[in-house]
């Protein structure tokens, strides 16, 4: 049922000139959940958000946000959503409080109500002490928090966050994570885009991986980890001759192979016996492997597996056997 989903998109396509940015994107997001659209730069994340937030029209396909069509019912959609983009869209020459009061007025609040709401949000986002300072004096993390606060002045039911933590240092990122997790507790649907697997894993209950304008994998973080469920044995080799020898013996099974970094990664069940026999088989002279480690598959592995980017791109034909 369309009206039970907070966001439902089917077959979204968009080209800018000759460049096809979205090649048919399907998404569905349940209300009150955090959904992450995960992908590398240029995958089509921002374009997807702009279409869903009514800022860009899709060339083909259809999307409903909060039950309204993003192309034909723009104004109804805009009353239900808010957007915090990659740029912190707040005025540097206004104070934090002035920015929020202005947004509140634009959201249709009375002067007194906008003032009250601005005060609440500044408190909630830990900006009360900086409320009277111009935003130009804020740190990057404070600006993003203010931007997020600004997106909440109108009590939206769906919030779009386009790369909310890109460019922030780790402490600021952790504060943003707490704030975003808090939004879901309020019953708001959060649609966030990110390049960070850790972020998607931590915040989202469902993730879609997008690459080259298509959703290449979707599911819960646990589902995605199941794509590469076993453990990995990562080998670091001594030199490129050693890399060639090991790759010749075990390359067909490799999950990843990176000649430049002298690294090969193979699936394993993680038992000592299997790791020992793998090492003996690949490196009988006991000279090629400098060091090794065994680790559980992370979202990074999922990401590399499904987007075929990074080191895996050097052996795409082998990669497919493991996906």
């Amino acid at each position: 049922m369309a009206d039970e989903l907070a966001i439902e998109a089917t077959g979204l396509k968009k080209s800018f000139g000759d460049v096809e940015v979205l090649a048919g994107v399907d998404l569905s997001v349940a209300p009150g959940t955090v959904f992450a659209l995960l992908g590398p730069n240029g995958a089509g994340k921002t374009t997807t958000v702009r279409i869903l937030a009514t800022l860009t029209r899709a060339d083909a396909g259809r999307a409903l946000v909060a039950g309204h069509d993003v192309a034909r019912e723009r104004h109804l959609v805009r009353r239900s959503i808010s957007l915090a983009g990659q740029y912190a869209a707040v005025d540097g020459l206004q104070t934090g409080a002035e920015n929020l009061r202005m947004m509140g007025r634009l959201a249709g609040r009375s002067r007194a109500d906008a003032r009250r709401r601005a005060g609440e949000l500044l408190e909630q986002f830990g900006l009360a002490a900086a409320a009277g300072r111009r935003v130009a004096t804020y740190s990057g993390g404070m600006r993003r928090r203010l931007d997020l606060a600004a997106s909440l002045v109108g009590a939206p039911s769906v919030i779009f966050l386009d790369e909310p933590t890109t460019g922030l240092d780790l402490p600021s990122r952790q504060v943003m994570w707490q704030v975003i997790a808090g939004l879901a507790d309020l019953g708001v649907t959060v649609f966030l885009t990110t390049q960070y697997l850790e972020e998607a894993d931590l915040l989202a209950s469902r993730i879609a991986v997008i690459d080259g304008g298509r959703v290449v994998a979707a599911g819960t973080p646990a589902d995605l980890k199941e794509v590469v469920a076993e453990q990995s044995l990562d080998l670091l080799l001594t030199d490129s001759a050693a890399f060639e020898r090991v790759a010749a013996r075990g390359g067909a099974r490799a999950r990843r192979a990176d000649p430049g970094g002298l690294a090969i990664s193979l699936p394993t069940d993680g038992t000592a016996a299997q790791v020992r026999s793998l090492l003996d088989e690949l490196d009988p002279e006991r000279a090629a492997v400098r060091s090794f480690c065994v680790h559980t598959a992370t979202l990074d592995d999922v990401f590399l597996a499904v987007t075929r980017r990074g080191p895996a791109a050097t052996h795409p034909e082998q990669e497919t056997t493991h996906v």
């Binding site: 860009t56 957007l83 869209a89 005025d91 206004q94 202005m102 007025r105 959201a107």
Partner: protein
Amino acid sequence: MSNALIMTNRALRLSSRQLDALLTSLMLPVLLMLMFVYLFGGAIRTGTSTGYVTYVVPGVLVICAGFGAATTAVSVTQDLGGGMIDRFRSMDVPGPAFLAGHIAASMVRNIASTVLVFGVAYLVGFRPHAGLAGWLAAAGVLLAFILAIAWLAAAFGLLVKTAEAANALTFVMAFVPYASSAFVPIATMPWWIRGFARNQPITPVVDTLRGLLLGTPVGTSPWAALIWCAGILAAGITAGGLLFRRRTA
């Protein structure tokens, strides 16, 4: 309407806090006027009985409006480049309200700098002979000109992608008035520039202001000035609307 007021308030607050830009837009016309009156004025024969300051004030007002418009172009460009426009649109602020805010703020800034120019001009000997009707008519023509070029500037701000490019409008606005009757009589110019100077919009605007303020006959200049302003305004609004839709498609 209330959105437009909020946008106007915002634009005014922002420009009141850009001290360097504010001072430049207020001081530049005044300094220019003093330079013309005290440095060049002695050498310029205007063919009028009044002093050069009386001749030059309308030109300074026009150039002042030009600088103000260039500021508007820059702030429109900054809002489009910096992501503010996306937030406003996602909040369902209509495009016309957004532009109207910039235009209204531009008008307020310009009126302030115009008053300052009049004040300083009076101190250095400007003595207009206009009656109430003349003052009102002059104010009307000047406001029409300011409004028209503010819209043109907003459209230019929507056309270019960077604040630096938007700022190029300053040069156009600063130089076009020199090839008009603003600072020297057109009759003193070489023949090949006279044609341009007689038939560009600033000449009828300046002639109208000069005539009205000094209480001398203005002929058909006011009508030419208003037709030019209406044309520029229509072009600015049309181009602004089209460009806004193109930039935010």
